[in-house]
Structures are given as structure tokens and as C-alpha cells.
């Protein structure tokens, strides 16, 4: 994750504060520049980066502030508050409830990793003895049903789909109904990739959502995405009630900073990250522990307001 990787750079930028004999506007600006460059290199949305810079600057009034230590602490804590804002939307993710059907719908851009991640999530619950299953409501992409079927079969997860039905709404509804009757607890519905520029695809997503009334809609985001993420994420959220984010492909070199703007745009927390193509390459993501781990790094411990 971007913030974890940035940890070192930020620590060193902040250390420049401790090393400086006087903390003035120049020192602050130099430090902010360093941090902002690092964030931009990690694809964090440029507007979020600018906000961060402004917000930190706004906190610090050099004329009014007295001692060096005070300034230092204030700057450091302001930086951290802003960084935390990037990953923590301040809301809790939906928690599935045992013994009842929890319907989870996957949405996202083309090729972001939805189908792969659906199986990973179902498998995650299966291992914890939940009754989990998969519904393939992607009737558009060539081979989509085969893909889900092969993944599900390998992991021994019950699945539903069709080679002949072309309406994803019908499949989603039928699949969910069937599995509900059979007492499944985690019913995951995979959908086609789509983007905001094609209204009919967005309309279809809304219809599927209206038909199955999901308990949680997960927006799947690829860690390599750049500045285009924000507008897409916002548009998804405006169309359907996105409640969580999963960031995939974090096994590569990408730091996932672009995907972070999905957190801000959807006001939804990251709940899992994907770290490979295999079914086990999947980790729960807990915002609060992640943040405290980040804050616990080196000499930046305890800087956030208590």
C-alpha cells in the first residue's frame, strides 16, 4: 500500500523538521514538497495532494506559534491527520451476518479483477465455515462464465450462471433466489466491467442492484490506476450504493495511490487487498490497525492527537 511504502520517505521528510534549528516557512514548504512528490509518484490524486498541502499549511501560523517543539509537533500531527484521511473514510464496512443471506455485488472497471476477487472472497468465507456461493451475472465478456465456473469448481464453491440467458438482471435475480432458498449465507454476484462513459452499462448495473438488493456493493480497483480513478469511482458511487473497496494487483510494483482516491470518492473503506492471481493471494485490510501501524513507525509514534 502506498502509505506503508511512503512511510520511510515521510519519516525522513519529517526528520528534516527535527534536524532544522529553526522551523520556518521554508522548512515546512520543503518538507511538504517532498511528501507531495512522493504521493504523486504513487499516483495519489493530484487534487487530494493539493488539499493535503493546503490543509497542513492552514494549521500552521508561524507568527502566532512560540516554541520549536510545539511547531514541530503541530506540523507532524497535521501531516498525519491528512494521511490518515486518505485511507480512512471514517465509516465502518458492512459486516455479513451469520445464518442469513448476505448478498454482495461486485462492480468495477473492465479488467480490474472482479471475477478473480469474487472467488477469493467466497473462498475466504468458505474457509471460515460460511455457506458461500457465486453468481455470474456477466453476460458480456467472452468466456466470463467459464472463467468463474473454472475458478469456482477448483475451489469447490457452488455457482450459478447461464450460457444462453443474455440478461444479467435475470441471471442475478434467479441465482440469488435459488441460493437464498438453499440457505446460503454469502451470495456473491459478479458483474461485467463497465465505465462511466457508457450510460447503458451504468443503467444495467443499477438494474442488477435494484433486482437483488445487495447488502454490500464492492468496488474493485486495480492498484496500477492513475489519475482517472477519481472520476470513475465517483460515478460508480453516484449510480449505486458502493459500500466497500477492494484494491487488487498489489503484488506488483504499484503502490496503489491512484486507487486510494476511490476511498475518498466513494466514502468507503478498503476491506481486502489482492496480492496475486491465486485464490490465496488475498488479505483482509483493516483501516484502523493499518493506520496505527503506520503511526507506530519509528520516531513518528504518538504524534497524532490523543
Amino acid at each position: 500500500m502506498v502509505l506503508a511504502d511512503l512511510g520511510r520517505k515521510i519519516t525522513s521528510a519529517l526528520r528534516s523538521l527535527s534536524n532544522a534549528t529553526v522551523i520556518n516557512e521554508d522548512v515546512l514548504n520543503a518538507m511538504l514538497k517532498e511528501i507531495c512528490t512522493a504521493l504523486l509518484e504513487a499516483d495519489v490524486n493530484i487534487r487530494l495532494v493539493k488539499d493535503l498541502r493546503e490543509n497542513v499549511r492552514a494549521v500552521i501560523d508561524f507568527d502566532e506559534m512560540a516554541g520549536g517543539l510545539n511547531k514541530r509537533r503541530m506540523i507532524q500531527s497535521a501531516v498525519f491527520k491528512e494521511l490518515v484521511k486518505l485511507v480512512d473514510p471514517g465509516v465502518k464496512a458492512h459486516q455479513p451476518v451469520k445464518g442469513k443471506p448476505n448478498i454482495i455485488m461486485f462492480v468495477g472497471l473492465q479488467g480490474s479483477g472482479k471475477t478473480t476477487t469474487c472467488t477469493k472472497l467466497a473462498y475466504h468465507y468458505l474457509k471460515k465455515n460460511w455457506k458461500a456461493c457465486l453468481v455470474c451475472a456477466d453476460t458480456f465478456r467472452a468466456g466470463a462464465y467459464d472463467q468463474l465456473k473454472q475458478n469456482a469448481t477448483k475451489a469447490r464453491i457452488p455457482f450459478y450462471g447461464s450460457y444462453t440467458e443474455v440478461d444479467p438482471v435475470v441471471i442475478a435475480q434467479d441465482g440469488v433466489e435459488m441460493f437464498k432458498k438453499e440457505g446460503f449465507e454469502i451470495i456473491i454476484v459478479d458483474t461485467s466491467g463497465r465505465h462511466k462513459q457508457e450510460e447503458s452499462l451504468f443503467e444495467e448495473m443499477l438494474q442488477v442492484s435494484n433486482a437483488i438488493r445487495p447488502d454490500n456493493i464492492i468496488f474493485v480497483m486495480d492498484a496500477t490506476i492513475g489519475q482517472a480513478c477519481e472520476a470513475q469511482a465517483r460515478a460508480f458511487k453516484e449510480k449505486v450504493d458502493v459500500g466497500s473497496v477492494i484494491v487488487t494487483k498489489l503484488d506488483g510494483h504499484a503502490k496503489g495511490g491512484g486507487a486510494l482516491s476511490a476511498v475518498a470518492a466513494t466514502q468507503s473503506p478498503i476491506i481486502f487487498i489482492g496480492t496475486g492471481e491465486h485464490i490465496d493471494d488475498f488479505e483482509p485490510f483493516k483501516t484502523k490497525p493499518f493506520v496505527s501501524k503506520l503511526l507506530g513507525m519509528g520516531d513518528i509514534e504518538g504524534l497524532i492527537d490523543k
Partner: protein
């Protein structure tokens, strides 16, 4: 008193300091348009170097001069130094009695298989017969995906419209097998059956995954395709740089030959999903110096375009 009028009548030399505020703004602008930060820096530096010490025209402002120079530089980057003429080269290969071979590579989910199918459609529209080699033997559904495309494409171009000849065939050996070997068999199969073009689909892979990068290098070394196309999505941010550097490097390093083959061209996909954030086009061409051969602009067979450098630069500078 006279110094008051100097700015009006005299000429002015461009200095680094004078240009800095304009350059900083432009750099942020490029980054916001999804040009990789490092490349945005370099571009602005090169504009500064080019203009420093030059005399500013009487009616020009620093801002417009810098903008114009940057715009020119961007057009330059996107203008292909080399034309890739697939149809001509395919005909040439045909004369030599061998199939023309194109390999598609790139990271996961960028659109390799889909754009391979679109290019296949374009080839058969140009009356070339195609063999698709299913060399992604890893990802679930990869073979069926190509089989579905093959069926659709043949339905669009039935053999009775082409003198009884089937225009597209699929060469597949299922999952789990060695991709390089399947590609070789496919090429031989195409040669025997006098099929004009072989399109080799490969599995998506992360540029840091050494075993998978080695396997790709092997596939390319063993089969020496006429064209190695890197497929990258227009959505990608700073990773564009790392992807291209490392794919090129891997193909060169692991191929252990004196004159290693490199990426010959780029397929830029999902161009329909980015509005005016077209910066990835710059990042990719800047790094490789190779042309963007195709632009993917949607999910149907006709959503394949060639790059309009001027339009891209216009969107970029807007």
C-alpha cells in the same frame, strides 16, 4: 525614468527563474492529465533547457512561449519515428511462404485478448486469414474467451463470403502447458496450412514476476515473432514507466542473444474510459520511443483506432 519603459520596447531573454512558475503550473497540469510524474518533470526540464537564454519575441509572453514549446515537444513524442505497416509486412511474409507472427504481452487485465480479437477482425476485413494461438494457459477461461471470439468472428465473416475458406481458427492445447511450445506448434500449423497471420495471446503478468517474465522472454526468443506488441491501458498511472522498462529489459536480458528483440509497438487500450486524462500515451511513447500502433476505444470489434497525435496533445494541453 527610462528603465520604466524597458519592458515595452526592448527584447527580453528567457531565464530559468522567469519560466519556473509557468513550468511548475504546466508540470502539475501534465500530472493531472495522468502523465507519469517523472516524465512530466523531464519534459518541463527539457523545455526550460531549450528556451533558456532565447530572446522572447516582442509580442509573446513567457507563458505562451513555454506552452508552445511544450506542445511541440509533445507532438514530437507522439509522432512515430517508424511506421509499422502490418498489412504490408504480412503480405511480404506471405510471399516468403511463412505466416506473419504477432505476440501480445502486458500486465494482467489490460485488454490483450480483447484487442487481439479486434485486430483479428481488422485483419480478416483486409482478407487475411488468421490463426489465434491460445498461449495464456494459466488464467481461468482464457481459452474459452478466445474460442468465443473465434466463433463470433467467423460468424461475421462466414467462409462462403471468402471462397469457402475459414477466416479464423483457434490453436489451443488447454491449460497448464508451456506457452512457448504451443506458440511454436501454432506457427508451424499456420505455415503448413498457409494461414497468413498468427496472433499469439499470452497470459498477463506483473513486470516484477521473474519466472513469468522469463517465460515470456523464452516465448519470444524461441519463436521470433515479426511484431511484439505491448498492451497497456490508458488508465495506468506512474506504473506505465516501470511496466515498459521492465518488459523491455526482461525480453532483452533473458533472451541471452546478441541482438535481442524488444517491444516493437504499443496497443493503448481503454482509451474510452479516461475522458481527457490522456497522459499514459505520452508516458508509454516517451519511455519506449516506439509507436502506438493501435488505440482501443471500446469493447466491440470496431473499437480499434489509430492514434491522432494532434488530438491527444490538444486534450493534454487543454
Amino acid at each position: 525614468v527610462f528603465s520604466l519603459f524597458r519592458g515595452l520596447v526592448g527584447s527580453k531573454n528567457l531565464t530559468h527563474e522567469g519560466m519556473q512558475p509557468v513550468l511548475d503550473k504546466l508540470k502539475d497540469h501534465l500530472i493531472a492529465k495522468n502523465v507519469a510524474t517523472d516524465i512530466a518533470h523531464k519534459l518541463c526540464d527539457s523545455v526550460a533547457a531549450k528556451l533558456e537564454g532565447k530572446v522572447l519575441g516582442t509580442f509573446d509572453s513567457v507563458a505562451t512561449t513555454v506552452r508552445t514549446t511544450l506542445t511541440e515537444a509533445l507532438v514530437q513524442i507522439l509522432s512515430p519515428k517508424r511506421r509499422v505497416d502490418i498489412l504490408r509486412d504480412a503480405m511480404e511474409a506471405k510471399k516468403q511462404g511463412r505466416p506473419y507472427v504477432m505476440t501480445f504481452c502486458g500486465v494482467n487485465g489490460v485488454g490483450k485478448s480483447t484487442n487481439l480479437a479486434k485486430i483479428c477482425f481488422w485483419l480478416i476485413e483486409n482478407n487475411l486469414r488468421v490463426l489465434i494461438a491460445a498461449c495464456d494457459t494459466f488464467r481461468a477461461g482464457a481459452v474459452e474467451q478466445l474460442r468465443t471470439h473465434t466463433r463470433h468472428l467467423n460468424a461475421l465473416h462466414p467462409s462462403d463470403k471468402h471462397g469457402g475458406q475459414q477466416m479464423v481458427q483457434l490453436y489451443e492445447k488447454g491449460y497448464g502447458k508451456d506457452a512457448a511450445g504451443i506458440a511454436m506448434e501454432a506457427i508451424n500449423f499456420a505455415r503448413d496450412l498457409k494461414i497468413d497471420v498468427v496472433l499469439v495471446d499470452t497470459a498477463g503478468r506483473m513486470q516484477d514476476n521473474e519466472p513469468l517474465m522469463r517465460a515470456l522472454a523464452k516465448l519470444i526468443k524461441v519463436n521470433q515473432p515479426d511484431l511484439v506488441l505491448f498492451v497497456g491501458e490508458a488508465l495506468v498511472g506512474n506504473e506505465a514507466v516501470d511496466q515498459l522498462v521492465k518488459f523491455n529489459q526482461a525480453i532483452a536480458d533473458y533472451s541471452s542473444s546478441f541482438n535481442p528483440q524488444l517491444i516493437d509497438g504499443i496497443v493503448l487500450t481503454k482509451f474510452d474510459t479516461i475522458d481527457d486524462k490522456v497522459g499514459a500515451a505520452i508516458s508509454m511513447t516517451y519511455i519506449t520511443g516506439q509507436p502506438i500502433v493501435f488505440v482501443g476505444t471500446g469493447q466491440t470489434y470496431t473499437d480499434l483506432k489509430s492514434l491522432n497525435a494532434k488530438a491527444v496533445v490538444h486534450a493534454l494541453m487543454k
